[in-house]
């Protein structure tokens, strides 16, 4: 029988998906001035010589939902939109990093990002202990896994109790009925075996918890991810922080569609990854805040910033920066400047930036520009399940209660900005991932799920572009700036 060769996912599977092609064609027709009823797509006043329109882009974190981000950016690129400043958290940081380092700002990058996704075995990112990997896999992919595991444990405990009772009863009976002698022996041996199984099970759980503690409360080391992203950065000639900054800043010659009092000055590209630092309890923006950790920033690894940003607590080990020269005056000055801290720590410990700012659109707020030259676009990943949206305040499980509490805390920082600066919300497109089919921690995605998520991202981008009105956005943001200056 010939060996089965699994068909490998290709870039074409994503971009030549029927829905994506139809959506894109329809969108292009909508924005084709030559077509009947068509109008030009205008989303920004900043253009390059080839007519690409430039926007700032922030991408939300959301585990494997990051594939939807690629679907979204693919459509934007196909519609001639390019990205000047990029920011992201967690999965958003990964796409942000790849879109920063691949080729040049005026080029399309989605195909290369998709190739990286096709080449990656997502499950390899779950690089913890095999038992933990199996547990995570079952927990995420099997429905009611905890209930089933609980039932199995009850069966084992009941069997153990029965065997012990059997031992006692058979010992008593075998003195009267010698024929039971052999069965009593067997019952004792079985009890011994079950005791052993339970003992090993308990020791194993204790060992796993010990490992969890020793690894800084992270199930997976995250080394596979680090190596993967580092390799991709190196393949795109980004080895140091300076390389990253240079690559993010390089722009083609830009021009304005309409005159703007701010001109083109200070209009340059950059990149930001958000991470949460637990020792000093701060939000860190990489690479802008690298001076907090090293006097020579090039001794830090840019791959580490993305690794830090995606360190989902408990799921991945924290990312550490050790040996911070805390007594160096330059380091002290940096901590004082950014956080008012006079005694810097010697080690910084990072977890996912999403616990503080999963959608860091606020970093694009610029008080110095009255009339915006380009919009800040955002890609929001909405994975709230119907149960999460219910306004019922009572029927919650314990996990539901803690989940809502955690979500309230982690989302409010960004939500507060959007509530106070409502106009920024108009640049945000939402990808609906609320279906039960998806789980943001499901690193065991089928190829179909990956394509489906990409399609959802693409559809969300099409819907967003159809409704986005640059003139209204610009006017409202100008009004906001004027109000703030009063």
């Amino acid at each position: 029988m010939p060996a089965k060769n699994p068909v490998k996912l290709t870039v074409s599977d994503f971009i030549h998906n029927r829905v994506v092609i139809e959506e894109l064609e329809s969108l292009k027709k909508t924005f084709d001035p030559a077509a009947s009823g068509g109008k030009p797509l205008i989303v920004s006043d900043v253009l390059d010589a080839e007519g690409h329109q430039y926007v700032n882009l922030v991408q939300k974190g959301g585990g494997v939902f990051g594939i939807a981000l690629v679907g979204y950016t693919y459509i934007l690129e196909e519609m001639g939109i390019r990205f000047l400043r990029l920011a992201g958290t967690s999965a958003g940081a990964i796409n942000t990093a790849l879109m920063t380092v691949i080729k040049n700002k005026s080029d399309k990058k989605s195909a290369e990002v998709l190739q990286a996704i096709c080449d990656l075995d997502f499950f390899s990112l779950v690089d913890g202990h095999p038992a933990a990997r199996t547990l995570i896999k079952n927990f995420i992919t099997r429905k009611n896994y905890i209930d089933k595991a609980k039932n199995k444990l009850l069966v084992v405990l009941a069997a153990f109790a029965l065997l012990i009772a059997g031992d006692v009863v058979l010992v008593g009976l075998s003195s009267k009925y010698p024929a039971l002698y052999v069965w009593t022996g067997i019952c004792f041996i079985l009890s011994g075996f079950l005791s052993l199984v339970l003992g090993i099970g308990i020791s194993y759980v204790i060992d796993l918890f010990k490992r969890l503690k020793n690894s800084g409360y992270g199930i997976n080391p995250g080394d596979v991810f680090y190596d993967w992203i580092k390799r991709l950065l190196l393949e795109n000639q980004v080895a140091t922080v300076s390389d990253l900054n240079r690559k993010a800043a390089i722009c083609p010659a830009l021009q304005l569609r309409v005159p703007n009092q701010s001109g083109l000055e200070e209009l340059k590209g950059d990149v930001t990854f958000i991470a949460s630092e637990l020792v000093t309890q701060n939000k860190i923006q990489f690479p802008a805040m690298c001076s907090l950790f090293r006097t020579d920033v090039d001794t830090l690894s840019p791959a580490g910033f993305i690794r830090a940003s995606m360190s989902i607590p408990l799921f991945f080990e924290s990312y550490m920066i050790n040996d911070i020269p805390a007594d160096d005056i330059r380091i002290k000055d940096a901590w004082k400047k950014f956080f008012g801290i006079t005694q810097p720590p010697s080690t910084a410990r990072f977890v996912d930036g999403g616990i503080l700012s999963n959608f860091p659109i606020s970093i694009f707020f610029n008080a110095n520009v009255t009339v915006p030259r380009l919009p800040s676009f955002g890609i929001d990943l909405d994975d709230s399940k119907p149960a999460d949206k219910q306004e019922n305040a009572f029927s919650w499980s314990l996990t539901g209660y803690f989940g809502r509490m955690f979500n309230t805390i982690r989302n409010y920082y960004d939500k507060d900005f959007l509530l106070k600066n409502e106009v920024y919300q108009r640049g945000v497109g939402k990808v609906d991932l609320s279906s039960d089919q998806y789980n943001w921690l499901n690193f065991f995605l089928s190829d179909k799920d990956k394509i489906d998520m990409f399609v959802l991202g693409a559809k969300a981008a099409c819907e967003f572009l159809r409704t986005f009105d640059w003139d209204t956005y610009k006017n409202d943001r100008t009004d906001l700036q004027i109000q703030l200056k009063k």
């Binding site: 690089d127 913890g128 202990h129 095999p130 031992d167 010992v171 075998s174 003195s175 052999v182 009593t184 022996g185 004792f188 041996i189 009890s191 011994g192 075996f193 005791s195 052993l196 090993i200 060992d207 490992r211 020793n214 690894s215 800084g216 080990e317 550490m320 050790n322 080690t347």
Partner: protein
């Protein structure tokens, strides 16, 4: 049928004493097991026996070499020392299980006798696997350690699993059967004397452990790096 070993109980007392003595030494050595993997962490010999992947043993050993020099040499000598002491621990452990199984076989029905004698002799295979495992690990302890090929890693894993299955099956079956004999009163009174000796050895071991555990050795503390 002639017993395989005359006065197995007496031999068991000797082998258990050696087992506890070597275990005591190995536990002392295990107190110095540290590695540097971002931060200084403790590890145990079990981490080397059940690596999550072929990379884990080299990563762990590299973590030891990444420690500051004094801590590194302490950990390396403790780890190598434990693996060498383990060669003394092995005959005591597998010998004890062998003797237990032989004792039980002696009191069994013909089928049970064959089963327990097989189980006793299988301990020699477990011993061989354990010795090979130690040789493999001793060979791995070097600064430029590389991951084994998937085949070698798989063979190592299977060897470790086989060893544990054989020795645990031996212990569980023998102890369960002995418990049954004692509970049902089918034992010779003189075996109780040996049982008392074994319990006494166990108590001495626990007391020694408690006393040694109370002694704070400065180098036990994880170094600050």
């Amino acid at each position: 049928m002639e017993p395989v070993i005359a006065n197995a109980w007496c031999w068991l007392c000797f082998s258990a004493a050696l087992l506890l003595l070597t275990a005591f030494i190995m536990l002392r050595q295990a107190r110095h097991f540290y590695l540097l993997d971002v931060v200084v962490r403790k590890f145990s010999i079990i981490d080397l026996q059940f690596p999550a992947s072929s990379k884990e043993i080299p990563e762990l050993i590299k973590g030891i070499y990444a420690l500051p020099a004094p801590q590194r040499s302490r950990t390396l000598s403790a780890l190598r020392g434990q693996l060498w002491v383990d060669f003394l621990f092995m005959p005591a452990l597998y010998g004890s299980i062998f003797l237990l199984c032989i004792q039980v076989a002696d009191k069994m029905t013909p089928a049970g006798e064959i089963f327990f004698e097989c189980l006793a002799w299988l301990q020699l295979i477990a011993w061989l696997f354990d010795a090979m495992e130690n040789g493999y690990l001793l060979n791995k302890i070097k600064p430029d350690v590389t991951p084994s090929t998937p085949e070698v890693h798989k063979a190592y894993q299977q060897m470790v699993f086989a060893k544990w299955i054989l020795l645990l099956t031996g212990i569980v079956c023998a102890l369960s059967a002995l418990l049954f004999f004692w509970v049902s009163g089918k034992y010779e009174t003189r075996s109780l004397h040996y049982l008392l000796i074994l319990v006494g050895e166990g108590i001495v071991f626990v007391i020694a452990e408690v006393i040694a555990g109370r002694r704070k050795v400065p180098e036990d503390a994880a170094p600050v790096v």
